[in-house]
């Protein structure tokens, strides 16, 4: 039993953080450079746990969770989540980004997140994940109307969305609880990173900003608000690591632990996101400051593989 990251994991984690800080700053989340995805691909980030035969690094979920929490801290593309899952669980190669669709009752139209330049889209279903191709246009099976897959913004300023029809041509996983848990785990990792980002932003500001001739972090009310952010982030992060290990070991209670991680991470991301704005005061409400970015990302993440109450009580 050892829940501290080993040296190799820490090195990978640190390298990721350093790279993100330089090439994928949170502050620039709404305007990512064109070649970003190619760089992420080149570093193998969408294939950390994919088998070597598929060009993957065949690492464990524990390492992957550590790295994805760092990516999440910089509001990395949502498409990394679905791409990582697709590359891990399907033998056939997905050349390029796999977008992410939110759960729907089949065969309704899909809400596709981060679809720009995506070759395919991954959908979470009860007990399975399914991957469709992305066509240029689709037929809405309910209204019988043809739709062009136009890209629209989402509340998360770094993520676009489109609509797409249910397709009969798809691949899906069967008789394996792990693929859906994998997606939930990675989404939880993103949310943990998001909670961390908000905490750090708030603490940095509370150390520097002065009112009444003192840093505002001197005042207990704001200090405790920051402390609570630290508590939420720490709890979610520990549970994330534990859940990743449970998934690696295919433990009987892995589904519970991953759901618990997602629940706590989502709450941490939302609550920290809100508290971060309050700590920032006026500047926190502006578009030019970055305080709103983690909050808006948190609002998106809560709809990606949410933790069902049944899973938590099972």
């Amino acid at each position: 039993m050892d829940l501290t990251p080993n040296d190799e994991q820490i090195a990978f984690q640190t390298a990721t953080t350093d790279w993100c800080r330089e090439h994928m700053a949170l502050e620039a989340a709404r305007d990512r450079p064109d070649g970003l995805w190619d760089q992420l691909e080149a570093m193998g980030l969408p294939r950390l746990t994919a088998p070597e035969a598929n060009g993957g690094l065949a690492l464990d979920h524990a390492t992957e969770a550590l790295v994805f929490a760092e990516l999440g801290r910089f509001l990395a593309p949502i498409g990394l989540l679905s791409s990582a899952v697709a590359n891990r669980w399907f033998a056939e190669p997905f050349d390029g980004k796999v977008a992410l669709a939110l759960t729907v009752e089949e065969p309704g139209p899909l809400r596709v997140l981060d679809p720009v330049d995506s070759a395919a889209v991954l959908l979470l279903q009860p007990g399975s994940v399914r991957v469709f191709d992305i066509p240029d246009r689709f037929l809405n099976q309910m209204t019988r109307q043809q739709h062009v897959t136009a890209h629209r913004p989402t509340i998360d300023l770094s993520t676009m969305q489109s609509e797409q029809g249910w397709a009969t041509t798809a691949v899906w996983t069967e008789d394996d609880v792990r693929p859906p848990l994998h997606l939930q785990l990675l989404a939880a990792a993103y949310a943990v990173g998001c909670a961390d980002a908000a905490r750090d932003m708030a603490a940095d500001y509370a150390r520097l900003r002065e009112q009444f001739d003192r840093p505002i972090g001197w005042f207990q009310a704001l200090k405790h608000m920051c402390s609570d952010m630290a508590v939420r982030a720490a709890a979610a992060r520990s549970q994330l690591y534990y859940a990743a290990c449970a998934l690696d070991e295919n433990a009987a209670d892995a589904a519970f632990h991953v759901a618990a991680a997602k629940r706590l991470a989502d709450q941490g991301a939302l609550d920290n996101g809100r508290a971060n704005i309050q700590v920032h005061g006026g500047i926190g409400m502006t578009d030019e400051a970055a305080a709103h970015l983690p909050l808006k990302r948190a609002h998106l993440l809560q709809f990606i593989a949410p933790a069902a109450r049944e899973a938590l009580l099972a």
Binding site: P153, Q161, E210, L222, Q278, G282, G284, T286, D287, A291
Partner: protein
């Protein structure tokens, strides 16, 4: 103690309702200040012409001189009729005007008050500065006296409607080297004066409503000072205590409508079947009732004694946080549709994002709790 209204008041309520029913504009108020300014001015003029602007303002300056209870009745009917927010006229009608009524000279009042009520002059507020937010007494913008003029240098921030305003209620340091609350003055600043630069700031909801204002040797006549040189803190506080007293009635009335709409929405989409949602809605409805009861109580206090009771700060805090709880519930009831929010959308998500201001602007919730602890409970001052 009674909660009934007199026959005269009931008659007044019917009058309000009838007029609003006939005149509330069908189109929605634009959210961006620049787009909304024409709408806001026209609507204010319409209110004035029909005698609904300044219900409890003195008749000498274009008001109706009616009671605060009638003002409340008007606001209740206004909200019930879904009449538009008064927008750009907010500062003039709710802050600047009342401050002038309490503190200004006859000449100042005679010039400005009717223009405010008619929607002819748009006002903005120049209190906060980049370095003086919660710490309002940390104001650094200074006004040097040269002959019969003030020469202003410095900057203000979070000034709503600055880029469309004609006048500003400006608090600045007129005594060189003075500290904290001393040596400040409250002046009427011409927003069209040379040397003023306005940098609009976009909110995280996408609207551009407030701005940063820079003053570079801006000259205004000394006669624009209100309440006397060096009395700025006192004059500003008279506005703020008004805000804390009855200035937020409109918000509270709005909440009474919002909770009913939320309950209706939850019934419509079936989410009320979830005990947690139903429990939250029940709780929120009780809290909205309490805010209304507290507000009525506070108004009764004003009617009796001429000023709001010490619990006004409690109402202020409770209302601002309750507003955020209502906005969060509205967003929760939207479900996944919250994802579709795009900058400038005038929906529940926009309200939620703009609503963060409630516990920040005009004194953060932390400052409000300090005030309650110190003034109501007599705990020692921390700052």
């Amino acid at each position: 103690m009674d909660i009934g209204f007199s026959p005269e008041e009931t008659h007044f309520r019917e009058e309000c309702r009838d007029w609003l029913h006939a005149h509330v504009p069908a189109e929605k108020r634009p959210l961006d200040a620049a787009d909304a300014i024409g709408f806001d001015k026209a609507w204010q003029r319409r209110l004035f012409d029909a005698g609904w602007a300044g219900i409890n303002w003195p008749t000498d300056y274009g008001g109706r001189g009616l009671s605060i209870v009638q003002q409340v009745i008007w606001l209740e009917e206004y909200a019930a009729a879904h009449a538009p927010w008064i927008g750009a006229n907010f500062v003039g009608v709710n802050h600047g005007g009342p401050t002038l009524i309490l503190n200004a000279s006859e000449e100042q009042k005679a010039y400005h008050l009717p223009r405010i009520l008619k929607g002819e002059a748009i006002w903005c507020q120049g209190f906060s500065e980049p370095g003086a937010g919660s710490d309002l007494a940390g104001i650094k913008t200074r006004g040097r006296i040269e002959g019969d003029e003030l020469v202003i240098n410095g900057s203000k921030i979070w000034t709503s409607f600055a880029h469309v305003a004609d006048w500003q209620e400006l608090v600045l340091r007129t005594e060189e080297g003075s500290l904290r609350h001393k040596g400040l003055s409250w002046a009427i600043c011409d927003m069209h004066a040379p040397g003023i630069t306005v940098r609009p700031i976009r909110k995280m909801s996408g609207q551009t409503e407030f701005a940063e204002v820079f003053y570079d040797d801006v000259r205004i006549p000394l006669t624009n000072v209100v309440g006397g040189l060096g009395n700025g803190w006192k004059v500003a506080m008279s506005t703020l205590s008004f805000e804390r007293g009855t200035g937020f009635i409109a918000d509270q009335v709005k909440q009474s409508h919002e909770i009913e709409e939320l309950i209706a929405a939850a019934r419509a989409n079936g989410m009320i079947k979830d005990d947690r949602i139903a429990g939250h809605l029940a709780q929120l409805r009780a809290e909205v009732a309490a805010v209304r009861a507290m507000t009525y109580r506070n108004i009764s206090e004003v009617v009796r004694t001429g000023q709001p009771g010490p619990e006004a700060s409690v109402i202020r805090l409770f209302t601002s946080e309750l507003g955020q709880r209502l906005e969060r519930m509205a967003v929760l009831l939207m479900g996944e549709a919250i994802i579709d929010f795009a900058y400038g959308d005038d929906d529940a998500v926009g309200d939620y994002l703009r609503g963060f201001a409630a516990t920040i602007a005009g004194g953060t919730a932390q400052i409000q709790r300090d005030i309650i602890g110190e003034r109501l409970l007599g705990l020692p001052k921390s700052r």
